[in-house]
Homo-oligomer: 486 residues x 2
Amino acid sequence: MMSTMDLFLQQSQAAFVQYRKVSGSSKAIFLDAIAAEIEALGQPLIAKAMEETNLPEARLVGERGRTCNQLRQFAALVKEGSWVDARVDTALPDRAPLPKPDIRKMMIPLGPVVVFGASNFPFAYSTAGVDTASALAAGCSVVLKAHPAHPVTSEMVAGAIARAIDKTCMPRHVFQHVQDSSFEAGKALVQHPLTKAVSFTGSFSGGKALYDYATQRPEPIPVFAEMGSINPVIILPGALQARSEKVAEQYAASITQGVGQFCTNPGLMLSVQSPGLEKFKRELSERMIAIAPGTMLHPGIANNYTKNRTKALAQKGVSLLAESTEKQKENQASATLATVSGNDFINNPNLVEEVFGPYSLLVTAKTIDELKVAIEKIPGQLTATIIGEEDDLKAHADMIELVMERAGRVIINGVPTGVEVCPSMQHGGPFPATTDSRFTSVGTDAIKRFVRPVAFQNFPNVLLPEELKEENPLGIWRLYNGEFKK
Amino acid sequence: MMSTMDLFLQQSQAAFVQYRKVSGSSKAIFLDAIAAEIEALGQPLIAKAMEETNLPEARLVGERGRTCNQLRQFAALVKEGSWVDARVDTALPDRAPLPKPDIRKMMIPLGPVVVFGASNFPFAYSTAGVDTASALAAGCSVVLKAHPAHPVTSEMVAGAIARAIDKTCMPRHVFQHVQDSSFEAGKALVQHPLTKAVSFTGSFSGGKALYDYATQRPEPIPVFAEMGSINPVIILPGALQARSEKVAEQYAASITQGVGQFCTNPGLMLSVQSPGLEKFKRELSERMIAIAPGTMLHPGIANNYTKNRTKALAQKGVSLLAESTEKQKENQASATLATVSGNDFINNPNLVEEVFGPYSLLVTAKTIDELKVAIEKIPGQLTATIIGEEDDLKAHADMIELVMERAGRVIINGVPTGVEVCPSMQHGGPFPATTDSRFTSVGTDAIKRFVRPVAFQNFPNVLLPEELKEENPLGIWRLYNGEFKK
């Protein structure tokens, strides 16, 4: 196995040595060309993805748009160029007691990156998804391990990338596509000495295994594994009094959107006993039972849903509140709402485990204090949401602190599903949501995962990278002698 | 052991919960106060450090100045405030098909940080050194494990910090001083569930052990271990022809400065056979033999120097070129210059191991191509230096690429010793120089080690942190709807 994967990494390293010298504007042309080639695949790509993932057409068309948009955002980022975080401190030859040398710093790419495609986003987190786009934007080469749930879709997108490589004269092996679903293939890719970073979206067991391989190599490397989340939603009493029906409507949709197959799916809601909460339970239940079961991405995911749902419902004190009235067929998942007391939740760590699918658990605390204790039992999350009236929120500012401690994104009066692609997005949270809370896998800052800073001391101007030359030929933002300027 | 350390971490967490809410300007007052309190310790601190470390007065006075300067640089950084890397993307409620929510992002502190003091910098990398300063600047609490080689110096500096805490009304346990040199104490601190990051400067075996504990915890945490470096210096032929005497003078001083006890000490020089090189060898040797042996920090370091030097000199093809004429006394180290052929170097991985002290190995390659192969055998380094005339450098631009791949800082026509404290400094390099090449342990960017980003979605303005409020009350630089502005 190592020998097959060795060829991929040798080729990737050879391409990297060429590609890292490519200018930002040329990388932008390349990334834009990938987007155009994906669009040029037209309806056949959508049709194949529908067949392989069971996802509906509108969703896949939207996801393709998001994927091309991501590629173009990274193209614009590297074309503009300021993302390299340049710092310039010029020499002070007369400083006493010692002269100060000229020092300049910028980000450079890490090297070949191994990307694992995800099953739940066949475009946006797969072959030409955000990991590939950000690694290529950074100047890294990519070895992409296709997700076995949509091999043909992946092959079609890989073909689009290959054509973009060709048309824009990039090194041939800057992107390579590996179709090998074996456990050993993934392990060999992560353990290969030329691999410099790994990115993964999927289960906790999968992500943690890759993390362990990577950190236990002779030369440890970073792993960006996004491993799921239950995305707690704290509902303050005032909001339920004021607008329980609106919240029920929002959440019935958010829990069941895409058959619950989102890493930001709200799998846990927490509130405090009140007449408003009873009303909310009824309203949410009414909506949940009316939602028809949906077909999941593949039989493995559907089986896991059934198994994990059964396990969750069997926990002490957990009762079923509502489920789809329509009976589920093969590979389908019924929308499910369960409930448990604050006390039973606090004492059972199994209840913070993810049930990937259209499932949510509503925790009813006796008091606000019990609610806070319950929140403290929740491990690291991608997101946390607070639903509350402004007075409620001001009165419980400590609740914001409490959720901020354990999440990468905090939402007020919204739903966690729907991850905007923009510079301010943080998609990543404390372990076990991800293996590295200091980075994001959505938005332009995702590029930061694949670079490291290098300082250039006492370089003749002619030998400096363009980004650091005294005359700032690229016109980028730099911290120049302590002052931000272009 | 865990129970003793548990108290430290419980107190640290309690202090963190208070301290993370402290404003940048208040943190600045605190950091400035630490610097003032250290200065107020006056000559007795210097005298005690001289006694405990064998370092000369001028060096320690300089290092104290650097330490206070670092504290004040971090104070200025957090007072100004732009370091939080704020991004604002305002809402587009009318966007089709879906409205865009308001999202804002900034860095927040990770939590309690465990810092291990270093032996070779009793001030700048110890109790109130750059790790403590940057963690406190970030808003983290610190548990400092004093280095056993200078316990009283460390206690005095810890006292200064305690007085600064008192005078500026900071939470009492925001900084705690642990005097326990046992292996188990360090392990317990790293493994404690409340510890959120670790920083260490020292040996490879020490740093790697901490890295393994941290990454194998149930909840892995980042470790910033700086583990030594041999700081290769590539000397191109033209430079030796033009100015071999000047280079010999610079390097005799750099190799032996502070008895070679710097992580940036040039332990490896590489060049190509030439008459200029023969002249350089004679000139460097003449200077090295004239340098008197120096007393090392403590007997353990002196014994290791003797042992590692003996091992290095016993390797195949290695011969002694020069050593201090004056005989070394107890705890002293003789300046040592050894030499080896390119071929023997290429085939012996032992020759890239660090000999901590005033030792350097000169590799003589037959050709430029052999020199490049030799460079490829060098693992990750803090620095790499190229000595060359401008024409030489232009002709060997690929050499710059080659060293950039394996170093955090590349120096042209200088020495690696002397690490400037400024925003453009990168002190950190690929493994095994450090455990995380993406961060620096010198300069203001060192603060980035102890933070993670959090996105705030759809927050009422009044509930946003000051850094993210619409009106930008702190007047910091932000990426606002894609545009950098104040």
